[in-house]
Subunit: 193 residues, 2 copies
DNA sequence: TGTTGCCTACCTACTAGTAGGAAGTTAAGT
DNA sequence: ACTTAACTTCCTACTAGTAGGTAGGCAACA
């Protein structure tokens, strides 16, 4: 239930949606305060500094991502389906506007002016995602499901870039459908011919 | 010569590099003031509001882009070479850190909280770039140089997303070489087999 | 004489962050 | 059962600093 969410989780929820909309410098304690009906000082009680808040937020995001990918592996065994499920997840997030952009992709754009603690977590997310994609592509290639032109690590980077670029285009053009139009052919391309 | 650059051009130069580093909310008049040794109020003399400043900046960026692509067409006639030159341009910008990110890609991420005048120009840039890529791909396909799996417009969107995603990955991983590692195979893929 | 470019000085609104206290909760100690 | 102490959550009230923006003046120049 939503009503059982703790205050600190509510703070992270709204901060996350504000970051997705405008990045690290695009929100303030006052914005969060207004959104959940609590005073600024109370937010500082839960998260003393903005850097700590965002750091906790990215930490949670990374755990959620890890848990999501793990449960995905439990529900779907074939690598092609796993890739499809990953892409479908983002397709629906963008489609229903619940999270129209990856938190870490947003922050990666501002990398140079992020507090170091946040920057290193963003880097870690990118490494983790690239590793997951590479492992899925590798096992798919071993099964003969995928035909890779490059090593799995490079194909993973290419796919990740397509996904992030597709998010950006969908946002720039204001057209959620653009995401899947861009990403789907990139996945088809990997399937053994 | 750099020394003949007018003050307003210097303002746009530094503002552009600050936007590339941290987006619309990532810089202030005070930052520009400190960087070029002029008072804040003097910047307001040239650009009364921040929205006007960024709007002028994106306008200039779009003109520079248009001029660059035009001269590219004059120097290089074959579509494959044109595509290669476009990618090489960004490769060198990212490599020497002179402009490690596209201004409009940066702003597109913050689309939702941009002043409308800026947002529409960013959209226009994306439309223009997609159209240029589509026209290059189309003429390449007509020459038999490219073999496209999808209509040129869709292939253009895919390529543009790869380029922007590759910029983001290069920044996230702190590895300029990642850009070309991601983009080069996407171009090779288009070449007739 | 008016215009351009820059200045000093200032304004209001907002930024992250702090100090200190009120209210309620929990868990012993008696 | 009653008290006390520690802890949590949230509050009001405040700070120093920064945000974008304005008013008015001065000097160079057309």
């Amino acid at each position: 239930m939503k009503s059982t969410a703790s205050t600190s989780e509510k703070i992270l929820d709204i901060a996350q949606s504000l970051i997705v909309a405008g990045g690290y410098n695009g929100f303030s304690y006052a914005d969060i305060s207004a959104a959940i009906g609590i005073r600024k000082a109370s937010i500082h009680h839960h998260f003393p500094t903005k850097a700590e808040l965002v750091s906790a937020l990215v930490d949670r995001y990374r755990q959620q991502t890890e848990a999501g990918l793990k449960s995905l592996h439990e529900r779907i065994s074939d690598p092609a389906g796993q890739l499809q499920a990953y892409v479908n997840y983002w397709h629906s997030c963008i489609g229903d506007a619940s999270m129209p952009f990856c938190v870490c992709a947003m922050l990666a754009g501002e990398m140079q002016m992020l507090p170091e603690e946040v920057a290193s977590q963003v880097r870690a997310h990118f490494h983790g995602l690239a590793a997951w994609l590479a492992s899925v592509l590798r096992s798919g290639a071993e099964n003969g499901l995928f035909r890779l032109d490059k090593p799995p690590e490079e194909e993973a980077h290419m796919l990740m870039a397509s996904v992030h670029g597709a998010m950006l285009s969908a946002r720039a053009f204001g057209d959620p459908g653009l995401f899947i139009l861009i990403v789907a052919p990139q996945i088809d391309r990997l399937r053994a011919r």
